[in-house]
């Protein structure tokens, strides 16, 4: 069922793929808005949410992006969706810049974490799911019903409002809306994090089926490593805006190279009770401002050596992937 992924990424940058990111960086200005901005002394340093990320997603594959809160996953998703502009670097989706109106023309759609917040409560479901089509022209007859059937909902419910549906059903509606415009790329940002486990399984299976049947390309963002394991062909691990490891899903989960990836995998609670190990130094994720010198992970790393604090490791080619660690 899974599409085999050709080995395409080299150390000097990805060459092919529907989605191509080259040296993408995005800064945010954390100084207060309004008049306080002028008075803020000293002006805070810019926050780098995404730093020098290069990656490529071949057509028809699922790229899983994993990391803790504040790692820049969602910012990267919004950059690829064209909702944010990169501060530097280049983003191409199907050979075009996804900024502005291009995103819809290329066929980029997003599915968000909180379905209740991403559906207009005053619109009827039939209008919500066909909105991407209506925005660009006439809605064919029966489209709403076809879309609702496709995501496993009753087409007779097209006249209802979103509040009449459970969380899982609302996420199905959001998926139907994303499918309405025949997308090439679907960006799923934590699509099941707000759902209960039994409903999560339904929605993940639905996304898998649609992706297989429609040949969709997916950027799948999640903090849940087990969900990423189930969904992704290739996985990128973000830490403080930097890609620290990337590999085919099977390789990454069987033989993680970066100490951060290993720590994340060890910390995941498992049903057999053999996980949940807090394998990190005391303390929490340090603030991203200012970013530590050297390797971004070295303040929490258990195996860090002196070099890690002074010299930033490059993301270099490793067995079926890339890793940014002096010791890997």
């Amino acid at each position: 069922m899974l599409v085999s992924v050709p080995v395409f990424a080299s150390a000097d940058g990805p060459m092919t793929g529907l989605v191509r990111l080259t040296g993408v960086t995005r800064h945010f200005d954390p100084s207060p808005r309004g008049p306080g901005r002028i008075l803020a002394r000293p002006r805070p340093a810019p926050l780098t949410a995404v730093a020098d990320v290069s990656l490529s997603i071949p057509e028809g594959t699922v790229y899983g992006l994993v990391g803790e809160s504040g790692s820049g996953k969602s910012t990267l998703g919004r950059l690829v969706a064209g909702l944010l502009a990169p501060s530097s670097g280049r983003i191409e989706v199907a050979g075009r810049d996804p900024q502005g109106a291009n995103a819809a023309a290329i066929g980029i759609q997003m599915i968000f974490q909180d379905p209740a917040a991403s559906l207009n409560p005053r619109w009827r479901v039939g209008d919500i799911v066909t909105e991407p089509v209506a925005a660009r022209g006439r809605v064919p007859r029966g489209l709403a019903e076809r879309l609702l059937v496709q995501v496993g909902l009753d087409p007779a419910d097209r006249g209802k409002f979103p509040r009449a549906f459970s969380g899982g059903q609302q996420q199905r509606i959001a998926i139907a809306r994303a499918l309405s415009a025949n997308p090439r790329l679907v960006i799923c940002d934590e699509p099941t994090s707000a759902l209960d486990v039994s409903v999560q399984a339904q929605v993940l299976n639905l996304i898998s089926d649609l992706r297989r049947d429609l040949g969709l390309t997916c950027l799948f963002i999640s903090h849940d490593l087990a969900v990423i394991r189930h969904m992704a062909d290739r996985v990128g691990v973000l830490y403080q805006g930097r890609l620290v490891e990337e590999a085919a899903a099977g390789t990454l989960f069987a033989a993680p190279r970066h100490p951060y990836t290993r720590m994340l995998l060890d910390a995941v609670p498992r049903l057999d009770g053999g996980g949940g190990r807090a394998g990190l130094r005391a303390g929490d994720i340090p603030d991203a401002v200012p970013a530590p010198t050297g390797c971004v992970f070295h303040p929490r790393c258990r195996v860090a050596v002196a070099r890690c604090a002074s010299e930033r490791p490059a993301l270099r080619a490793a067995a079926c992937g890339r890793v940014a660690c002096h010791l890997a």
Partner: protein
């Protein structure tokens, strides 16, 4: 009563207003009985709306305004507490029962330093001077693994990370050395690495202090790593309970079985997940017979008519007409 359970719930029911203006009251928690012994973590698992948090609120008498305890008994350390007047309950909270909430930022006062909040709580429960209370506050922070605790007393909640705030939340709950700690989704808002630290902390405190812990979560993995025993709630009913390994390895109730199978596993193979069709009905819209029967692959006619009986299950009990595992030879009389 030192040998008895710290917490004992006997047929506890919580009613909530039904739908619509004239809706009849519905049972959101329906005759649940569980015990927690000293030094034991009981994990309560269930989907949202299953009644987990209402059950916990019933223990402390902090039910939401329109919900009410409609039956059953709550015993804490050998004393019945469900009919106590509010003034007596207030003294119980904090001193005998500590609570850790999901959102540590919402549980802390943003305008008070954490030292002041801890000292205030300590002063309410213990006869200590201000300086002694402050000293005790620093000790409380050290106990939950906060580095440089004396320096942190002057911090405001917003200056701490999520994991540190949750440690402060736990320190607050532990100020008066309660016999029972209720942790309601304590790690749901935290990253996985911080979650592992907080769960290890809860386990250590439970062992060291001989505290009873009620751990409420929707995450089966968290239960598997932390709890000694598990209670699975579905639509307000206790559908299965027993030692955590027995229940997760050989679930007897089809709902438990489905829940365990639906969890994506990090060491699993990619592909389709087992799924439970449909969704849990809200209180007031629950079907006759076993509430799970519309979603159950094993349901027969009897499940649609008669409430499920309680049967012996792997090391515990389950409420099911046709359990999906063959039962041990022993059956309850």
């Amino acid at each position: 009563m030192s040998v008895g359970p710290v917490l004992s719930l006997r047929d506890v029911s919580v009613s909530v207003p039904g739908r619509g203006a004239r809706g009849a009251r519905a049972l959101a928690v329906d005759r649940v009985s569980v015990d927690i012994a000293a030094g034991e973590v009981l994990g309560i698992v269930g989907e949202s709306g299953a009644g987990k948090s209402l059950l916990a609120s019933a223990v402390t008498g902090l039910l939401p305004p329109r919900a009410g305890l409609s039956g059953g008994e709550v015993w804490i350390a050998g004393a019945r507490v469900d009919h106590l007047p509010e003034a007596r309950l207030r003294r119980l909270r904090g001193r005998v029962v500590g609570t850790v909430f999901q959102d540590p930022l919402g549980a802390l006062n943003p305008l008070m330093t954490i030292g002041a909040q801890l000292a205030e709580t300590i002063a309410v429960h213990l006869p200590l001077s201000r300086s002694a209370a402050r000293q005790r506050a620093a000790e409380a922070l050290a106990e939950v693994g906060i580095p440089a605790p004396a320096d942190r007393l002057g911090c405001y909640p917003h200056e701490l990370s999520g994991g540190m705030r949750q440690r402060v939340g736990i320190a607050l709950a532990l100020c008066a050395a309660p016999a029972l700690l209720i942790a309601d989704e304590p790690t749901t808002a935290l990253d996985v690495s911080v979650q592992a630290q907080i769960l290890a902390l809860l386990k250590r405190l439970c062992r060291d202090r001989g505290m009873a812990v009620m751990l409420i979560t929707h995450d089966m993995g968290v239960i598997a790593e932390t709890a000694d025993r598990i209670a699975v709630l579905y639509a307000g009913r206790l559908v299965e309970t027993g030692p955590v390994r027995d229940v997760l390895d050989t679930p007897c109730h089809p709902y438990t079985d489905g829940l365990v199978a639906a969890v994506p596993r990090i060491d699993g193979r990619p592909g389709r997940l087992a799924q439970i069709p449909g969704a849990m009905p809200p209180p007031g819209a629950r079907p006759a017979g076993c509430a799970f029967h519309p979603r159950c692959a094993l349901a027969r006619d009897r499940c649609r008519k008669d409430p499920a009986p309680e049967v012996a299950a792997a090391g515990g009990r389950a409420a099911c007409w046709f359990p999906c595992r063959s039962l041990p030879a022993r059956t309850d009389p």
